[in-house]
Amino acid sequence: MASAAASASAAPAPPNLKHEDGAPLGTRADELYDRCAERPKDTTFFQRDLSNMQVAESMGELLNMVQVLVDRHLLKPMTLDGESCWKLRSRSDAEKLRRLTADERNLYNHIDQMQKEGIWSKALRARTNVTQQVLTKCLKSLESKDLIKSVTSVKNPSRKMYLLKHLEASEDIAGGPWQSNGDFDTGLIQVAAELMVRYVGEQTLTSVPSSWNNYATTDRTAAIAQKKAEVQRLRDIEDAPPARLYRPPMHPGSSHKVYRNNAHYPTAASAAEFLNNLGVLKEKKVRESDMEQLLEMMVLDGRLEKANQTSYRSVLKATDTKVYNGFVDAPCGSCPVFDLCIDEGQISARTCAYFANWLGTESVEI
């Protein structure tokens, strides 16, 4: 649609039009409608567009024809920068609109005005000045006629926002790509997060095979020399090179991950581009801010870590075993009755079942 704010004018139909020109005006108006319908959907027509179609013979006749179409709800009147313009409605929509009551039509126009932003029912009432009962009744009937729909706002979950049926709610009220129906789409987030872990991992980590630097086995002469020296025992202890350099134990054939040398850490922008290009999120475009939200959440999750203010990197665990700390690894640290435990009594170190289990001994039976 036109980028301008559309303002509807529910002009009361001048009653005497048909008396002057009769049926021909009606059929010529249909002709105008058909000509307009040939244009791409959602085109905005200005007066000169309509006159260029050369359906009407004079400007006055054109205005009359437009008025007829507006009355039949086939054209939706709008203004753009003070100039009148119109948009086409389908015949079925027009039919539905024609059957509305005045109140319903009034509400419909207000809802239409807000387009994707939607309008809160209370705001609607304030604008239209109808009673609550009328409002509720009309909104119900409009919904049943498939003209409008309601969505819950993400910002204010208690508010019901109304917008036209065929429109997608704007991100302000429906939330970003991660949300659906006002709630977080955990499945989608899960998938996206996993993709991100893989993407960032590829960018920041590299896999090193255990055999990448096999200096020890090839260096036979040195080994022989060392052995010789050992046998002769002539060396001063101070000068002797250490028999073997310390290196971490590695299984042959395995590989481990290390951070890349001079890695380019991904940012929200590059990650968003990656995800959009992948095209796994159908019909949804991930903006940079959406991606930042996801990545920040993953940092909180411990699945990524921040390399600096704007870029992210993978979390590397050099050791596989997870140790917490001395306190929680002991039974007391995660004991459900820790706060009730006292020196003597039913719950105490002497009677503790958790200690008994942990140590493989027995406690005093209570």
Binding site: Y215, L300, A307, K317, A318, F327, A330, C352, T361
Partner: protein, 664 residues
Amino acid sequence: MSYTQRETPILAQLCTFLVEDVYGELAARVFSVLARFGRQRLVDILRLSYLNRRQIGAGLVILVQQHLVARSSTDTSPTFYAIDWQHSYALVRCGRIAKLVEERFGSQAANVVSNLLTLGHTRISDLKDAYFPPDTDSDADLDDGIVNGVGTKRMRNGEPVNGVNGKVNGTAPGTLVNGDGHSNGVDSAHSNGTAKEHDGSIDSVKDLYKIVHKLMKEGWVIKLDEAQYLSAGDYHELARQLAIAEKCGGGEPTGTKQNAEIEEATLRHKRRIRDAWLEVPQTLGGEHKTNGSAYEHANKRVKINGDNDWSRGAFQDEEELVIRINPEKIAVAMRTEQLVNLVEQRLGPITARIYRIMLRSLETHIPRCFDEWADPSPAGKENSPIVEDDPQLCIYPEHIANLTTHLDICEGLDPQGICQITGRSLVKDKENPADKVLSQPVDPSKLSYHERKMVVEKHIELLTHDPFHFATWSGRGTFRIDFEEIAKALIQHELENTVEARKGPTGVKLIRALRKKGKLDERQTCNAMMMSANDIRDMVNDLTVQGFVQTQEIPKVDRREAKHSLHLVWYDCQRAREKLLHDTYKGMVRIMQRLAFERERVQSLLAKAERSDVVGNEDKYLTADELDMLKKWKEVQEKLLLQLFREDDLVATLRDFVGPMVSV
């Protein structure tokens, strides 16, 4: 009272257990009186306990000797006794101290330190006598203040401390500083030392002095000073009096400006007195010419059987010096170990070892983790230019590189980086085409000086890029370590660990979200965590109950209806830190209690196994069942004690590495 001295009932309980475990029941009885009633005079202790004066005296001697009790020292008013919580708690670290020293300075130094720990503060000449016993047995002419509590204690560490069977001899508490550091019973320690498979024995007085000198230079051993006996309050008063004398010339301070000046001068005096303890006497080193004769003096001296009238050797002043372990240094070493462990978990063993070299190279110049009496930083600290780094605290990669010859420093890095440095390239492995290997292997021991430095710099780069910022670039190719920030991050890390173990990843996520964003209402929390409110609500409740997060209700309407109020959740690291510290103390108490209970269960067996005729001949005198039970008991004991030490690690992280934090 200072932050680190803050007393809690649970800490009192823990310390009483520790004292009982190490120094026996008598000392623990006296200790518990002081723990329950606070600062007391001798007569009050007498009144409050069911002990007689002589018993209390004996108990106090041990406590004072080990610096577990502080005492006021004014001549006019009666002496007050109060517990020094820091030192009392430090009993749990005895074994660890010896271990830390051994890793750094070898087993001989560890041996000396163990003895110092056992004896409390000691005159150097007495230490010497202990190692090289004089001809006569000096036990015979000692007074009767012998306390046997120490005799049967169990040393709770992996490496038994020598001198366990020694008796701590003391005279009346009033004259302690002047010379009843005379301790004995280490003669058995000496023979123990030689019998051990690891060579911790010391062959000559020269070596002993060398070791003591080295330890003092490194700041592990310090001089004893009268002021060390003062409790925090008395010490403050002492420094304040000095400050007033300096600023007002004896008069009373007037006006806020002068008060502020005195505050500042008080802190300065506190630091000055404390720093004087660290000074090292010059002549103690091994370079002295009359070493041989000093040994002879030692023999002669005891024959004279007195303190002061023996022929003076060149060591005279130093031999009279009374030394003790520096408790603050222990925390520095523990911090090093913990940081290295963390790096090993995050970046791998080689980088961790290089980090260890870096940290240990700094340790000499770091007497303590944080200065309790630092000048308050000026208000606009952020705006002021960054202070020039102390060059002693800078790390030069080339120095570090020289110390890495025993490591395969190429490991743990991206091969691409190694290629750049050594001019190799990566090619497909012949045996396994999927792997890329170096075109020509690099032997780390044959790297040139320059290459080695570059490789080490790559490791340091890993350290700087880590979110913990284990190292920070500080210009001109040097690095420094911002210990304060790391220590804070370490506290947060432990808190997160605790929450994760108890509540799983969601709990950690919540804590992190709140820490990052501050106070949040429910919807904001959901947005930050990208989860629905239902999943979060229970977690908030649980963590609130456990004291990790706080909630707040702000009414929006006059009637303060809950429905209309804002409900905020927030996380205060400081509160969580204190809560966890308290819980950890409690956990340690439970372990000690359980240990006592387990011991009780096998009491009769232990009594038999500890009989002098059975020790060493267990197989001969104990039945198979008994041996089994004994083995089982040892396992249980080891498990519990290991856990106790790990909890101590946590306490160190939470309490000793960084001063009080101001947060939220």
